[in-house]
């Protein structure tokens, strides 16, 4: 292994074969699968040790995590239901990342999207359900889109750091939501848990036939695939990646960087807003403080774990959704606090970032340089 790093020594026949199998053919791609997988295994091991310190059996932990996430049809459905908003909020971080921007305000766009979607439904009391649902989706996407576009615009036109501004916008969105839900939009009959009026049972978005998973999951996958096509197979996406790689070069060749930033941020926020719309339209039935469940923050982790690739976001969101789904079982069977899911997520995030330094350094995966 050392020889690979140091002076170019002629590889042995066996290594040559390995090189040909991994290094040359799929070496680059394999790195992007093996390193994150390794990071997750290491994080699970660390979390096992952590839980072991509190006198729980790590093997029980892994068993119940698997059971709660992927063990039964019931847990699969729970996992996929949680993955739906994660795919959409992850896109909120992954799309601007193509332009070199770090947006972490998906939670705020989700809340605003939920509010605007609910408002649209409440404004159309007599319309047929399909019309209401389409109006909700449009309103949610526009609401969330404008919210993140604000962060993008501030970055481009005022030079305000988008990471900080998007996070501040989360807290502002939460204050607006609390104000509206406890004030002007409050349903007088919601006594203990302030919420808006219900959008109506007829307007609720149903489940995918034969499952308990709502349609948001399908829309999440469609959004991820469309984002992938947009980034890698259109001129717009190419321009965005050029601008993300070297903003000066982009300006020299005459790309409208401002327009790229605004449109990308709008689409990103629109995805998170759609997540909020599905949380209202398929799960909650109205807007209330429960919507701030942290999907927006977990979405950041999903995006980074997927290395900002929209297609990779789908499996990663399912994995993270599984971890979330297993939380309940861990609480009941192992008496672990509900925050254990957060600890595991944080550990995975840190290990994944630390593993960034491994790229191009694993000898066996190294591409042969001529």
């Amino acid at each position: 292994m050392k020889a690979d790093v140091g002076a170019p020594v002629a590889p042995t026949a066996a290594r040559k074969a390995l090189r040909e199998a991994f290094g040359l053919k799929i070496g680059g791609a394999a790195e992007y699968v093996i390193i994150p997988a390794l990071a997750i295994v290491v994080s699970l091991a660390l979390f096992g040790i952590f839980v072991g310190l509190f006198g729980k059996n790590p093997l029980d932990l892994y068993f119940y995590m698997y059971q709660g996430a992927f063990g039964t049809w019931f847990s699969w459905q729970n996992t996929l239901t949680r993955a739906a908003p994660l795919i959409l909020t992850a896109l909120c971080t992954a799309l601007p990342a193509q332009l070199g921007m770090v947006i972490i305000g998906g939670e705020g766009a989700l809340l605003i999207g939920a509010l605007t979607a609910t408002s649209a439904a409440l404004a159309l009391p007599l319309a047929p359900p399909l019309v209401v649902q389409i109006a909700m989706a449009c309103a949610g996407m526009i609401g969330g889109g404008l919210w993140i576009m604000l962060a993008g615009g501030l970055r481009h036109y005022r030079g305000v750091n988008e990471t900080i501004s998007s996070l501040l916008l989360v807290y502002i969105a939460l204050a607006i939501l609390n104000f509206l839900v406890e004030g002007p939009m409050r349903d007088p009959s919601s006594l203990n848990k302030p919420s808006t009026r219900d959008i109506g049972a007829a307007n609720m978005i149903g489940n995918i036939p034969g499952t308990d998973v709502h349609w948001g999951f399908v829309f999440g996958i469609v959004a991820a695939v469309l984002s992938y096509i947009l980034i890698y197979h259109t001129v717009f996406g190419f321009a965005a990646r050029v601008a993300g790689g070297n903003i000066r070069a982009a300006k020299v060749v005459g790309l409208g960087v401002g327009k790229l930033i605004m449109i990308t941020c709008f689409l990103a926020g629109g995805a998170a807003g759609l997540a909020g719309m599905f949380e209202v339209g398929a799960v909650q039935g109205n807007t209330n403080a429960n919507l701030a469940a942290g999907y927006g923050f977990s979405g950041i982790l999903v995006a980074f774990l997927a290395r900002q690739n929209p297609l990779a976001i789908i499996p990663v969101a399912i994995l993270l959704g599984g971890i979330g789904a297993s939380g309940g079982l861990l609480q009941r069977r192992l008496d672990l606090p509900d925050a254990s899911v957060l600890v595991l997520q944080g550990t995975i995030f840190l290990v994944v970032l630390a593993s960034d330094s491994l790229y191009g350094r694993l000898g066996i995966l190294k591409r042969k340089t001529p």
């Binding site: 770090v102 972490i104 501030l154 481009h156 036109y157 005022r158 030079g159 305000v160 750091n161 990471t163 900080i164 501004s165 996070l167 501040l168 916008l169 989360v170 807290y171 502002i172 204050a175 607006i176 609390n178 104000f179 406890e182 004030g183 923050f297 950041i300 982790l301 980074f304 606090p337 509900d338 925050a339 254990s340 899911v341 957060l342 600890v343 595991l344 997520q345 944080g346 550990t347 995030f349 840190l350 994944v352 970032l353 630390a354 960034d356 330094s357 790229y359």
Partner: protein
């Protein structure tokens, strides 16, 4: 002077003033700590997590030992450990410090909620305060002038840090690393070690700031204790142009803004006070809009800082 029994509308400015002193204390500590970290050329966005960890460990140790000051110390040590974690991951090649900060935010809050579960019920001894309002008969005035010791330490710390950055050898090393890593390397200083020290120092102060939340105001441990004070303080450092004295003034301003919502609520406002809870965040955003510019880098920004590069 106004009549003692009824001070009418004076309640709100008094409550805001008192709130400014109380609420600003965590802002002061976190922003001073982050100021030093950023002067060394690295940004730690994870101070929200560090703050919550500090609040939890400070409360836990104060409860177990009966001494709130040991709690403050423990909070600082926990914060420094979080800082060390941040710095050691960022020290690896090709690791983005902003992303590590976000991860640490998630990890710190998760760990604090996990370990702090058994601490929600018990009551821990709280930090003392000094009564500067003995001369007044008005209870509201006395409440405002009952000033906590950590606030005083924070106020003293700001000029000390200005002096330390400007004149001491350590201050010069930190500034050199923040302005030009290559120059520091040429002088024989390890950039990673200096940043490790600066991030641990920042973590220590943030942890102490967190212990204020659980040991003085509001003075208990629960999972809703911090609502973005950590991240607001990071934004505040940018607004304060990386100057510890300006960090202090900015913290006071923010404390006042954050105290507005609760003050209006306690003075009998039943609707709309939730909007005022957004005041510190809106203020941060407005100030950043007013002071940032896309055309030039910010005055006073350390040249090695990733967010202003």
């Amino acid at each position: 002077m106004v009549v003692a029994t009824d001070i009418g509308l004076w309640t709100i400015p008094l409550a805001v003033l008192g709130g400014a002193v109380r609420v600003s204390t965590p802002f002061i500590f976190v922003s001073l700590g982050e100021c030093i970290t950023e002067r060394s050329g690295r940004i730690n966005l994870g101070l929200e997590g560090t703050l919550v960890m500090g609040a939890m460990s400070g409360y836990g140790v104060s409860y177990l030992t009966g001494s709130p000051w040991l709690g403050v110390l423990a909070a600082g040590v926990a914060g420094a450990a979080m800082g060390a974690l941040h710095a050691s991951i960022c020290g690896l090649p090709r690791v983005n410090d902003i992303a590590v900060g976000i991860a640490l935010m998630l990890f710190g809050t998760g760990l604090a909620f996990y370990l702090g579960k058994p601490l929600i019920e018990p009551t821990a001894p709280r930090l003392p305060s000094i009564d500067f309002g003995w001369w007044s008969d008005i209870p509201q005035v006395r409440a405002v002038l009952r000033i906590n010791v950590l606030f005083i330490i924070g106020v003293v710390l700001a000029p000390v840090l200005v002096w330390a950055l400007r004149t001491t050898k350590w201050g010069l090393i930190v500034r050199t690393v923040g302005e030009s890593a290559d120059a520091a390397r040429a002088m024989g200083y390890s950039v990673n070690h200096v940043r490790l020290g600066a991030t641990m120092f920042g973590g220590f102060l943030s942890g102490v700031g967190g212990s204020f939340l659980s040991l003085f105001y509001p003075g208990s441990w629960n999972e809703g204790l911090s609502s973005g004070q950590g991240i607001t303080a990071v934004a505040l450092v940018i607004f304060a142009r990386w100057d510890p004295m300006l960090c202090l003034w900015a913290s006071l301003l923010f404390g006042g803004a954050a105290a507005l919502g609760p003050a209006l609520q306690s003075s009998g406002m039943t609707e709309g006070y939730q909007l005022f809870n957004a005041a510190p965040y809106v203020l941060t955003l407005l100030i950043m809009i007013a002071t940032c510019s896309p055309k030039r880098t910010l005055v006073g920004a350390p040249a090695e800082l990733s967010i202003t590069k």
